[in-house]
C-alpha cells in the first residue's frame, strides 16, 4: 500500500454515518446526487434523510481525495462512480463495522 493510500484510509476510517452511506450507495452502483439521497433514505427505511448541502460537501471532498470520480451521462447529469481507492476504503470500514457488530452482539448475548 502506498503512503498516499494509507493517508486517505486514515482520513476516512472511521467514517461518519453520512459519508459511509454515501459511499455505500456508490459502492452498489454509480448514481447521481438525488439517487444517493433516495437510496440512503430507502435502505435506512426513511431514518436518514441526507441534506443536499451535506451530500454535496461530502461528495466534493471525496472527489478531491479520489474516492470517487464523476462523469456526465446522456442527459448531462452528473454521475458519481466509486474508484478502486474508494472501494478499498469502504471495505476497510466494513471490516471495522463487522468487528463492531460481532462485539455488540456477543456482549448483548452475554447479558441475557
Amino acid at each position: 500500500m502506498t503512503e498516499k493510500t494509507d493517508k486517505v484510509i486514515k482520513k476516512y476510517v472511521p467514517m461518519s454515518e453520512t459519508a459511509f452511506y454515501i459511499l455505500l450507495s456508490l459502492f452498489k452502483q454509480p448514481q447521481h446526487g438525488y439517487g444517493i439521497v433516495k437510496y440512503v433514505e430507502d435502505i435506512t427505511s426513511g431514518r436518514l434523510k441526507l441534506g443536499s448541502g451535506t451530500v454535496y460537501g461530502t461528495i466534493t471532498k471525496m472527489l478531491k481525495d479520489h474516492l470517487i470520480v464523476v462523469y456526465a451521462n446522456e442527459e448531462r447529469k452528473k454521475i458519481y462512480e466509486i474508484t478502486e481507492l474508494g472501494e478499498l476504503v469502504i471495505q476497510q470500514e466494513m471490516t471495522r463495522l463487522e468487528e463492531l457488530y460481532t462485539n455488540a452482539v456477543a456482549h448483548r448475548e452475554d447479558k441475557k
Binding site: K49, G51, G53, Y56, V70, K77, E81
Partner: protein, 392 residues
C-alpha cells in the same frame, strides 16, 4: 510529416480547440505531442483511431477514467501534467457520456480573479499617482519639468511597453473567459431548470411587499421569518433584485422549510445539485464572487422538516463562512475609519472645540463614529449568528 501549431489562449476556447483536433483527425492527422504550457500541438500524418476529443483539466494530475466512460469508448490519448486529451473511437452520435469540466471552470475562475486583482492594483496605483500630481497641476506656480538624459530611460520605456502588453492580455483574458464561462455552462445545462421566481396565477389575490434589510448578518432569522409568513398564510412569490424587498401573496397556510445559503465563490454545481434534490431556488444575488441564495422546500406535518445542511459540522462551516465574510469586509473599513477618527478628527475637536471647527469637519466628526458603530454592529451580528448556530 509533422505539423506543428501554436495556438495561444487555446484553453480559453476549449470547445473550439477540441473541434479543431477533430477536424485534423478527419484530415488524417494524429495529435502526437501536446505541450499545453507552450500552447503547442504537434500532429503526425497518420489516420487516428479516435473520432471525437475532449480536453480535460485536473489539478491533481491523475486524469482518472471512470469505468462508465471506458465502456463508452473513451481513452486518455495524450496527457501532460494537468491537462489531458481524451479521445473516443466511436462516432459522435453513439457517444452517450461526456467528461465533466468542473475543474476547468474553477481554474478559469481563478485566472479571472487574478486579473481582477491586477486591475484593482493598476487602478489604485494610477489614482495614487494622480493624487500626487494633481496639486502640482492645480497650483498657480509655474511648474518646470526637467528631463535628465540617461541611457537608463530605455528601461522605463520597456517597462511601460510591458505594462501595456500585460494589460492588453488581461483585458483579452477577462473578456474571453466571460464568454467561455457562458459557453461551458451552456454545454453542461441539464434538463432541469432553476426557478428564479414563482409567478403564480391568481393576480386578484391580496398581495403585500415587505422590506427586510440586513438579513445577511442573521440568515437564520430570515429563515424563521419566511417560515412564519408561510405558516400564517402569506406565500412568498418574489424577491426583488437586490434582495431587500419580499413580495407575498395571500394563500393557504403551508409548511415550508427555508434555507439561506452563502457561497464563497459561485458554485453552479452546488445549485443544480440542490435543485435536483427537491429544493427550489427563490433568490440568487448578483455578483460572481460572493453569492447569496435562498432555497425552500415544502413539507407536510407528518414528515420531518428538510434541511439543506443536516449535520452540525456542515452547518457550522456554512455559518463560519458568513461570519468570516462580514469580518473581512467590514474590519478594514472599521480600521480605516477608526484611524482617521482617532488620530486626526478627535484630537482636532478636543483641541479646537466642537463649535469652532468648520461645518464639514463637524459633519465628519459626527458621522464617522456613527458609521464605525454601524460597521461594528454588522460584524458583531454576523458572529452572533455563528454562535447561535454553534449552540443549536
Amino acid at each position: 510529416m509533422n505539423k506543428k501549431f501554436w495556438k495561444p489562449f487555446w484553453s480559453f476556447h476549449i470547445q473550439r480547440t477540441e473541434h479543431w483536433i477533430e477536424e485534423m483527425a478527419k484530415k488524417g492527422y494524429t495529435l502526437s505531442r501536446f505541450q499545453p504550457k507552450f500552447s503547442r500541438f504537434t500532429f503526425i500524418k497518420e489516420t487516428p483511431s479516435h473520432q471525437i476529443f475532449s480536453i480535460s483539466f485536473d489539478p491533481s494530475i491523475q486524469h482518472p477514467l471512470p469505468k462508465a466512460l471506458q465502456l463508452d469508448g473513451w481513452e486518455v490519448v495524450n496527457k501532460k501534467r494537468k491537462w489531458a486529451v481524451y479521445g473516443n473511437v466511436k462516432q459522435k452520435e453513439d457517444v452517450k457520456t461526456s467528461i465533466v469540466r468542473d475543474n476547468l471552470e474553477s481554474r478559469n475562475k481563478k485566472i479571472e480573479i487574478f486579473w481582477w486583482i491586477y486591475f484593482i492594483y493598476i487602478a489604485f496605483s494610477v489614482t495614487s499617482q494622480a493624487m500626487l500630481l494633481l496639486p502640482l497641476y492645480f497650483s498657480s506656480d509655474p511648474v518646470t519639468v526637467t528631463r535628465v538624459e540617461s541611457p537608463l530611460w530605455i528601461l522605463t520605456y520597456i517597462m511601460f511597453a510591458c505594462q501595456i502588453a500585460v494589460t492588453m492580455i488581461g483585458v483579452y483574458s477577462l473578456l474571453t473567459l466571460k464568454k467561455e464561462s457562458r459557453r461551458l455552462s451552456e454545454e453542461s445545462k441539464q434538463s432541469q431548470f432553476l426557478i428564479d421566481s414563482t409567478s403564480e396565477s391568481g393576480r386578484s389575490r391580496e398581495r403585500c411587499n415587505k422590506f427586510k434589510f440586513g438579513w445577511t448578518f442573521a440568515p437564520d432569522k430570515l429563515e424563521t421569518w419566511l417560515e412564519d409568513k408561510e405558516r400564517s398564510g402569506w406565500h412568498l412569490t418574489h424577491i426583488y433584485k437586490r434582495g431587500f424587498t419580499f413580495q407575498f401573496v395571500r394563500s393557504e397556510k403551508k409548511l415550508y422549510a427555508y434555507s439561506v445559503h452563502f457561497d464563497g465563490r459561485v458554485d453552479s454545481n452546488a445549485h443544480s445539485f440542490h435543485s435536483e434534490t427537491g429544493w427550489e431556488r427563490v433568490f440568487v444575488s448578483e455578483g460572481s464572487w460572493q453569492q447569496w441564495s435562498i432555497w425552500r422546500q415544502a413539507y407536510s406535518e407528518e414528515s420531518e422538516k428538510p434541511e439543506l445542511n443536516i449535520d452540525p459540522e456542515s452547518k457550522q462551516r456554512a455559518a463560519m463562512r458568513v461570519a468570516r465574510f462580514h469580518t473581512l469586509m467590514y474590519t478594514p473599513l472599521l480600521l480605516l475609519f477608526g484611524y482617521a477618527f482617532f488620530s486626526f478628527m478627535l484630537p482636532n475637536v478636543l483641541e479646537e472645540g466642537y463649535f469652532s471647527i468648520s461645518g464639514i469637519e463637524q459633519f465628519n466628526t459626527t458621522v464617522y463614529p456613527l458609521v464605525m458603530f454601524i460597521f461594528l454592529i454588522y460584524v458583531l451580528r454576523a458572529w452572533a449568528y455563528y454562535f447561535r448556530v454553534r449552540k443549536k
